[in-house]
């Protein structure tokens, strides 16, 4: 550094590089030599030793002051340089400490910003993935849905005596295809239903095939997968079993719907049960449960026939009692069969017309229907139509 300062012109010559102690010793030695030589000369001139020494000191001047001036001259630059070095070192150290602290703070801030950015990126990525998955799902639906044309208008279900393909729903299903090779594995059917868990048409389509399985397989599988089906599917899957009057497990399937936790599913089950019970059996008053407990183990054909016979007898009795069929009981009887489908009985081999004729229902004169409200009269007219050969 001294050489550098010398080049800058701050020092005429580089300071003595020797240790300060060596420089001080040289000063001391040089001054001592002068005093010794001066004393010796004075002695040679005739002065006593002490006097010569004293005279030499007097001529020399203040030794301490001279020594300090010499030291300042020879070592002052070194001291100044040391001070500069100390100040520069301290400044450098302070700068390093400052930079380290500043760097740590900057790093900490950068780490926080980085974490925040990563979290933001993760959110964006998650949203992108969700959006992509939604897009794929929509495209998949879009690819499958267009085949479901025309817009499904299935106003009635497969009728007795018709194959699935001959009924409106069956024709629709035949036109749009469905899965037929699902076997008997519960997982396969559950997966098949849930391929489109929001589509009631899809649920009906799969249920048609499930009901077509031989023996009790369809009903058994349905019991297993029932809780895995969507509400839309649970509302639909009962139809192929219920309206196929010959299905031996129709009541078991209806019982599933009857005990469902969702009201709309229970409502459908009650509606469908009417065909078998020939009466309104709402779950709330326990009638439905009692009816199912009484009939669930009986052959479906017997259930349909006996309940139809009971209704027919009750209806005929009411008609015989009055000139015009009117009043709470007969209206209640008619409301109880509002959704009955004669095709269901026919499919089960039940002769509905024979039952009605035998009970005397078909002998009731049309004029006697005049006192009924319009809705009940329409049902009574429909019953009369069942009497036609």
């Amino acid at each position: 550094m001294a050489a550098f300062l010398e080049r800058l012109g701050l020092f005429p010559r580089a300071p003595d590089p020797r240790p300060l102690g060596a420089i001080a010793a040289d000063i001391e030695d040089e001054l001592a030599f002068h005093l010794e030589a001066s004393t010796r000369a004075l002695i040679e001139e005739g002065l006593e030793d002490e006097a010569a020494r004293a005279e030499a000191l007097r001529r020399f001047g203040d030794v301490d002051r001279i020594r300090r001036e010499c030291a300042r001259t020879l070592m002052g630059e070194r001291i100044v340089l040391q001070r500069i070095q100390f100040v520069l070192t301290a400044a450098l150290l302070a700068a390093v400490v400052f930079l380290v602290l500043a760097s740590r703070e900057t790093n900490a801030r950068a780490a926080v910003e980085r974490e925040r950015s990563l979290a933001l990126l993760a959110q964006i990525e998650a949203r992108l993935v969700q959006g992509e998955a939604r897009l794929v799902e929509e495209r998949r639906h879009a690819a499958s849905e267009p085949a479901l044309q025309p817009p499904p208008v299935i106003d009635r279900l497969p009728v007795l005596g018709q194959s699935a393909e001959e009924s409106p729903a069956g024709a629709y299903l035949a036109a749009n295809g469905t899965r037929t090779d699902l076997g008997t594995a519960r997982e396969s059917w559950s997966e098949a239903f849930n391929e489109q868990h929001g589509s009631w048409r899809h649920g009906l389509r799969i249920a048609e095939r499930l009901a077509a399985l031989s023996g009790s397989q369809g009903a058994e599988i349905l019991v297993q997968v029932w809780n895995e089906l969507s509400v839309e599917h649970r509302e639909q899957v009962m139809k192929p079993f219920v309206f196929d009057g010959g299905h031996p497990h129709a009541l078991e399937v209806l019982e599933l719907g009857f005990e469902d936790s969702v009201h709309s599913v229970r409502e459908r089950a009650v509606l469908y049960l009417q065909t078998y019970a020939w009466q309104d059996l709402w779950q709330g008053d326990g009638q439905g449960d009692r009816w199912l407990a009484q009939w669930r183990d009986r052959p479906v054909g017997e259930v349909l026939r006996e309940n139809a016979e009971r209704w027919a007898r009750a209806y005929a009795e009411c008609a015989q009692e009055r000139e015009q069929i009117a009043g709470g009981r007969v209206e209640h009887l008619l409301e109880g069969i509002e959704h009955v489908r004669p095709e269901t009985l026919a499919k089960a081999g039940v002769d509905l017309r024979g039952i009605l004729v035998e009970a005397g229902v078909c002998a009731i004169a049309p004029a006697r229907l005049g006192g009924l409200p319009a809705a009940q009269r329409a049902i009574a007219e429909r019953v009369r139509s069942w009497c036609q050969p």
Binding site: P12, R13, D26, I27, D29, E30, L31, F33, H34, E36, A37, S38, R40, A41, R59, F60, G61, D62, V63, R65, I66, E69, C70, R72, T73, L74, E77
Partner: protein, 119 residues
């Protein structure tokens, strides 16, 4: 003797001691004591000079590069520091000597005395 002279000693002007030392050293290398003696021998005995003040002056000139110094052995076989004039010192001697004469002449003219050069 010397003590008598010093009763009439005059104060040495600033810078004069350095000029005297440079002049003495122009003849060859000397140690501090010999420089002091040479100054005295050249007629400066009437000047009030503390011999010790010579050393800070020598060290200053050494630092300026006018003098070079090295340790040697004296006539009394004692370790002594010898000073010699450098090229820079010779140049400085010429400049200082010239300046001193100009100041001296100017002061003499102001005081009404003929300058030594003019005399």
């Amino acid at each position: 003797m010397a003590e008598d002279h010093r009763t009439e000693d005059v104060e040495l002007p600033p810078g004069a001691l350095e000029l005297l030392a440079l002049k003495v050293l122009a003849r060859g290398a000397l140690h501090g004591y010999a420089i002091a003696r040479a100054i005295q021998d050249r007629g400066a005995e009437r000047l009030r000079i503390e011999e010790g003040t010579l050393y800070p002056a020598l060290h200053r000139m050494e630092r300026r590069g006018w003098l070079a110094a090295e340790w040697g052995v004296s006539e009394s076989n004692r370790r002594a520091k010898y000073y010699r004039l450098t090229a820079g010192g010779r140049s400085a001697l010429r400049e200082q000597e010239s300046a001193w004469r100009r100041v001296s002449d100017a002061v003499a003219r102001v005081l009404g005395h003929p300058s030594p050069k003019g005399a």
